[in-house]
């Protein structure tokens, strides 16, 4: 393969056939001289440009990527570029969390008649890329391990839910049971410090239902499997947002799901609990008090205060009570609605771009591609048909290299744009503790910034921001190429 002319950098362009490509033709016809770096891929519409193409190019060695299409309102397909604008803007705000300079990616609207503008766009973008030089690669980064600061203050008091109306709830469930296929909840797992899902079909099953800080997993993940069968689900506040999101996306039907809710007082970060418990053979006792639990394992007492050992997401949680439920019992604590940056994201915010790159290098190395993150995600409904293991489309190879592993995380994150409720199951499920939730949190933050503080999973009737558009976007401003 011809190598790049030594003066050139690798710049990939995705141009819509009708406007930008035509603009580039017009520039050519006008003999409007341009740098030679850019290679143009012709697509029917800027709406066809999956942000993942851009990421793929950047991960695979592009130094810059330029997407160009019709001016808003001029789309050959009426609205393709409106969708593109939202998706590409989200991408632009996502790149930095990976450690990729967002200046390496740009989108511009150029009409078929704007040869001069095209010349200008190409020239200034190429200049910009040259000023930044060749893009750094994840392969070359020196792994960096850093741990987020978990000394956090919660927006509400965290506790162990011992006063929750569990018995009352059990009765309600028992009453409803005859009309339901099953009710999903939690029960004690292989020991008192681990809960496992419970599928209640009989009143005896209902008696096994547990409620408390060990109920970490999100039962909403199972709901799409029961599509068409009337199913009950017991939810924490965060779980209910996943249910709402599933409803919003028509993945389950409202009439098929009965939601039971108790106020959540936070759940434990089992990873940190396990680490402190260390090696033990059996648990002798789990004692609850208002602020935490004391676990006696092999005769030794370990104290876990909820405020110190809650899951990262619980500290910033503003929905302790289900946002949507058929049965609500108990009163949640009042939430002090202060916006807070989740711990891992805050850690990344404090890093330079190069450090972030090194960080992901250091973290993703140990990824096993077991896809527990994906399968634990309630919004990952492709499951068996995930593009990660597909040859058509063939987005990824089976190589165990950093680019493939990280690319999968970006696929997941971008597919969750405007959909991720931040339940954190991806990160919790990861056997090797990669803080991948931060990537989803950055997407959610970008979506909130761009679309009027939109948060997924609060309103089943809301239009997901990336499945809609505004002709005039309030928070997306065209870049000035003058």
């Amino acid at each position: 393969m011809p190598v790049l002319n030594s003066k050139e950098l690798r710049i990939v362009g995705f141009l819509c056939n009708w406007c930008a490509y035509g603009g580039a033709d017009t520039a050519g016809v006008a003999r409007a001289g341009q740098p030679t770096d850019l290679r143009i891929i012709r697509v029917p519409c800027s709406g066809r440009v999956d942000p993942l193409f851009v990421l793929k190019a950047l991960l695979e060695g592009a130094d810059g990527v330029l997407v160009s299409g019709c001016h808003p309102r001029d789309c050959h397909y009426a609205a393709g570029n409106f969708y593109a604008r939202r998706r590409l803007e989200v991408l632009k705000r996502f790149l930095p969390v990976l450690g990729i300079d967002d200046a390496r990616f740009e989108y511009a609207w150029v009409s078929a008649s704007e040869g001069q503008r095209w010349q200008h766009v190409v020239t200034s973008f190429t200049k910009r890329i040259h000023a930044m030089g060749p893009a750094p690669h994840f392969d070359d980064a020196k792994p960096l391990l850093r741990v987020a600061d978990m000394a956090l203050t919660a927006l509400r008091p965290l506790g162990t839910a011992q006063n929750a109306a569990v018995n009352e709830l059990k009765q309600v469930i028992k009453d409803k049971l005859p009309e339901l296929n099953c009710v999903i909840g939690w029960q004690q797992g292989y020991d008192g410090a681990h809960a496992t899902p419970l599928f209640m079909k009989t009143p005896e099953d209902v008696d096994k239902l547990s409620w408390g800080p060990f109920n970490v997993m999100n039962p909403a993940v199972y709901l799409p499997l029961f599509k068409g069968k009337k199913t009950g689900v017991v939810v924490k506040g965060c779980d209910s947002r996943s249910v709402v999101e599933l409803l919003q996306e028509n993945l389950i039907k409202r009439e098929d799901v009965i939601i039971f809710a108790l106020p959540c007082e936070g759940t434990l970060d089992i990873a940190r609990v396990n680490e402190k418990l260390g090696r033990y053979t059996r648990i002798n006792a789990v004692a609850y008090d208002e602020a935490g639990v004391t676990i006696t394992a092999d005769g030794k007492e370990h104290r876990f205060c909820m405020n110190d050992f809650a899951q990262g997401k619980c500290y910033g949680c503003a929905t302790p009570m289900a946002v949507l439920a058929d049965t609500r019992l108990g009163e949640p604590h009042k939430v002090n609605p202060v916006s807070s940056v989740p711990p891992e994201l805050a850690m990344l915010d404090d890093m330079a771009l190069s450090e972030r790159m090194a960080f992901w290098r250091g973290q993703m190395e140990r990824c096993l591609r077991c896809y527990a993150c994906r399968n634990a995600c309630p919004m990952c409904v492709c499951r068996d048909y995930c593009v990660s293991d597909s040859r058509n489309p063939h987005w990824m190879s089976q190589d165990a290299d950093i680019n493939q592993k990280l690319f999968f995380q970006t696929i997941h994150a971008l597919h969750l744009s405007g959909r991720c409720t931040g339940c954190g199951e991806c990160q919790r499920a990861c056997p090797v503790g990669i803080p991948i939730l931060a990537l989803r949190q950055q997407i959610a933050r970008a979506v909130a910034q761009l679309f009027d503080d939109y948060k997924a999973g609060l309103n089943p009737a809301a239009l997901p921001p990336l499945l809609g558009y505004e002709a005039h976007e309030k928070n997306i401003h065209e870049r000035d190429w003058k």
């Binding site: 393969m1 011809p2 190598v3 002319n5 050139e8 690798r10 990939v12 035509g22 033709d25 520039a27 050519g28 016809v29 003999r31 409007a32 001289g33 341009q34 740098p35 030679t36 290679r39 143009i40 891929i41 012709r42 697509v43 029917p44 519409c45 709406g47 066809r48 440009v49 999956d50 193409f53 793929k56 190019a57 695979e60 060695g61 592009a62 309102r73 001029d74 789309c75 050959h76 397909y77 009426a78 609205a79 393709g80 969708y83 998706r87 010349q119 996306e249 028509n250 993945l251 409904v381 492709c382 048909y385 593009v387 597909s390 058509n392 489309p393 063939h394 987005w395 499945l467 809609g468």
Partner: protein, 653 residues
């Protein structure tokens, strides 16, 4: 695959700065390439013959031509490979002229870039699949939205061509803006006299179904097979029975109803027929002003109506029609001129729009064709016309020229002199745009024969002088001096914008519109009446400012498009449509939500919900492919794998 590569010299256009032979040589190293050459003119007849020969001689099943832009010659070469027996989609182009040779002088860099573009094309081609068009039946019936002069012309031409027409009009009468005009330029013939007969033809033509006082509710389907829902708004009069005698209007006690037909220059009755020549000549009750409907007591019209046509409890009715194509002819409205505080628009009674002035000139208008000031009913002596009020004005977001104001201002000035021989008209103008046949002559006549004072310059302020007249302060830029005129009436040539509701209609029709609401044609020069949505055509001012002759011409042009389309019994689709891999599809419906054309729908396959592409509706934008997380919807000819192949060809090196 067995791929052949043709690196075109395009004379010296490409070969001047690209080493074409070298590119061909490099190409031989690409996978599946079995043949590469560098003809001097590939698109010329011998060049095309060489491609056909190479397909036969080298048993090629894929061809890459590296030459000019595919926007130029892709159709040409597709036909070439098709002649040689290949499917037209087993062909790719690399643009090494507009994107390489013409924009850079560095021969080495260009050669290298050209080779990479060929490599990308090969990579894509290796993922191409033969695609075949599908054919479908055409419903030979047309819907025309808007009964102004453009819509009327289109309707009559289509109907004369034997096509059944559904003509939709929002107001209670067709005729549009032209019906409000007194005379037309440059011949100064009577608007009603030339439009009237056409309106009557519409009413009488057996092929035309007229829905007046109706609006388009919803559209689904695609070229050849649209389903439209039409909302017939409640008129409170049974038009089957109404004879248009006008007895109701005479007796209606609610006589202060704003007269919209007269541009609010006068009042009418709550039940009325807008003007004597209205088509259909049927009465309509204005619900906000009718005493029976607002207060529940009156009922005079029902009593007086000889045919008992009045129905106070009438409801809107929605009817469904099936058509094969649609013509949008929705015209225009005036921009909000009251933003011009300095002219006192909407503030002083005698500062009026030219359309209002037109009604004052018209015999069917509120003054019976006598020019009288709205404020005191006196005849004006000094009339000031101000052009470009809301045209060519970026500061109010109206940068475009409204096209016909120069001409009608001249016409109105001329008519003013005819009506009031002792009057003096002044026209403030920036430029006179009179490019039509006999137009410039007409404006000259206004000056030379009618003594209209044309002042090259603008007006800075209009305000009452406290003595019943208005001070018009302006400038004559030719003199370089400010001028002041005492005017009795000031007529603003208010700029136009797309008809209200145009944007909403565009969204229903799935066509593009510009920032001012004007619909976008498919190509400015070569497809002026087509849109990018197959089967939707544009006539008249809805596409951009134009005068009556141009609107009529466009009306006829769309009729020609409709007749040409309906000359065929079946249509073929472009096979570059989305395809659903039903096994991968999880039925989440995201693609359905964002398809700009409604080309995806839900279907049930073995009890599971899946997406399904209506291939004839799909326009091939690929938004669904981008939206589908599992890649279950793939746009043929721009699949993920095809684009990824191009990305990989570039980046993995």
């Amino acid at each position: 695959m067995r791929i052949g590569i043709f690196i075109c010299h395009c004379g010296s256009n490409i070969a001047g700065t690209v080493d074409c032979a070298r590119v061909a040589e490099i190409s031989t190293g690409f996978p599946d390439v079995v043949y590469a050459t560098d003809p001097v003119y590939t698109c010329a007849e011998p060049g095309q013959a060489a491609i056909e020969a190479a397909i036969h001689d080298h048993r090629l099943d894929g061809v890459v031509v590296a030459s000019c832009s595919p926007r130029m010659h892709e159709p040409t070469f597709r036909r070439t490979v098709e002649r040689a027996g290949l499917n037209r989609y087993l062909f790719e182009m690399a643009n090494i002229r507009e994107h390489v040779s013409w924009i850079g002088k560095d021969r080495d860099a260009n050669t290298n870039k050209a080779a990479e573009l060929v490599k990308m094309a090969v990579a894509k081609l290796r993922n191409n699949r033969p695609l075949l068009a599908k054919s479908f039946e055409v419903n030979k019936k047309v819907l025309i939205v808007g009964g102004g002069v453009a819509g009327i012309q289109a309707a009559l031409d289509c109907a004369d061509g034997g096509v059944p027409v559904i003509l939709l009009e929002r107001e209670s009468t067709i005729g549009g803006k032209m019906a409000k005009l007194d005379k037309t330029f440059p011949t100064v013939d009577c608007s009603a006299c030339i439009l009237g007969p056409k309106m009557v033809d519409v009413a009488q033509h057996p092929n035309i179904t007229l829905y007046a006082y109706s609006e388009l509710e919803d559209i689904s389907g695609y070229i050849g097979n649209f389903t439209v829902k039409i909302r017939k708004r409640a008129t409170y009069v049974n038009w089957e029975k109404c004879t248009g005698c006008g007895a109701c209007s005479e007796k209606c006690p609610s006589k202060k109803t704003p007269d919209t037909f007269n541009e609010l220059t006068g009042v009418t009755t709550a039940i009325n027929i807008p003007f004597p020549q209205a088509i259909p000549k049927k009465a309509v009750i204005s619900a906000e002003h009718c005493r029976q409907l607002t207060k529940g007591k009156c009922g005079v019209c029902a009593k007086i109506c000889p045919t008992g046509a009045v129905v106070y409890d009438m409801q809107d009715d929605v009817v469904t029609e099936e058509v094969g194509c649609i013509i949008a002819a929705t015209g225009y409205d005036l921009m909000d001129w009251t933003v011009y505080r300095e002219y006192g628009g909407g503030q002083y009674p005698d500062v009026i729009t030219s359309l209002q002035y037109e009604r004052l000139l018209s015999t069917s208008g509120p003054t019976g064709g006598h020019i009288r000031r709205p404020s005191d009913g006196l005849e004006p002596k000094h009339i000031v016309f101000i052009q470009c009020v809301g045209s060519r004005d970026k500061s109010v977001g109206r940068p475009y020229c409204s096209g016909f104001c120069c001409m009608y201002t001249a016409k109105q000035a001329v008519l003013t002199k005819d009506h009031l021989p002792f009057s003096q008209s002044y026209v403030f103008y920036m430029d006179i745009r009179a490019p039509g046949k006999l137009y410039d002559e007409f404006t000259r006549r206004a000056v030379e024969e009618y003594g209209v004072e044309y002042i090259r310059g603008r007006v800075s302020a209009v305000y009452p002088d406290g003595e019943g007249a208005y001070v018009v302060m302006g400038v004559d830029t030719l003199l370089g001096r400010s001028v002041e005129i005492k005017a009795d009436i000031v007529v603003l040539a208010v700029g136009i914008e797309a008809s209200r509701g145009a944007a909403a209609l565009a969204e229903k029709l799935r066509i593009s519109y510009d920032n001012y609401g004007f619909f976008m044609e498919s190509h400015v020069k070569l497809k002026p009446v087509e849109t990018n949505t197959a089967g939707v055509f544009l006539a008249g001012v809805c596409q951009g400012a134009k005068d009556i002759p141009a609107s009529v011409a466009q009306g006829s042009a769309t009729a020609a498009k409709v007749l040409a389309l309906f000359a065929r019994d079946r249509l073929e689709n472009d096979p570059q449509t989305a395809q659903v891999d039903t096994r991968r599809c999880v039925g989440c419906g995201k693609c359905i939500r964002c398809c700009p054309f409604g080309a995806l729908k839900e279907t049930t396959i073995r009890g599971e919900i899946k997406a399904d592409v209506i291939e004839t509706v799909c326009q091939g934008c690929g938004l669904c492919t981008t939206t589908c997380p599992q890649g279950a919807v793939q746009l043929s000819h721009a699949t993920d794998n095809q684009i990824l192949a191009e990305v990989n060809a570039l980046c993995r090196c």
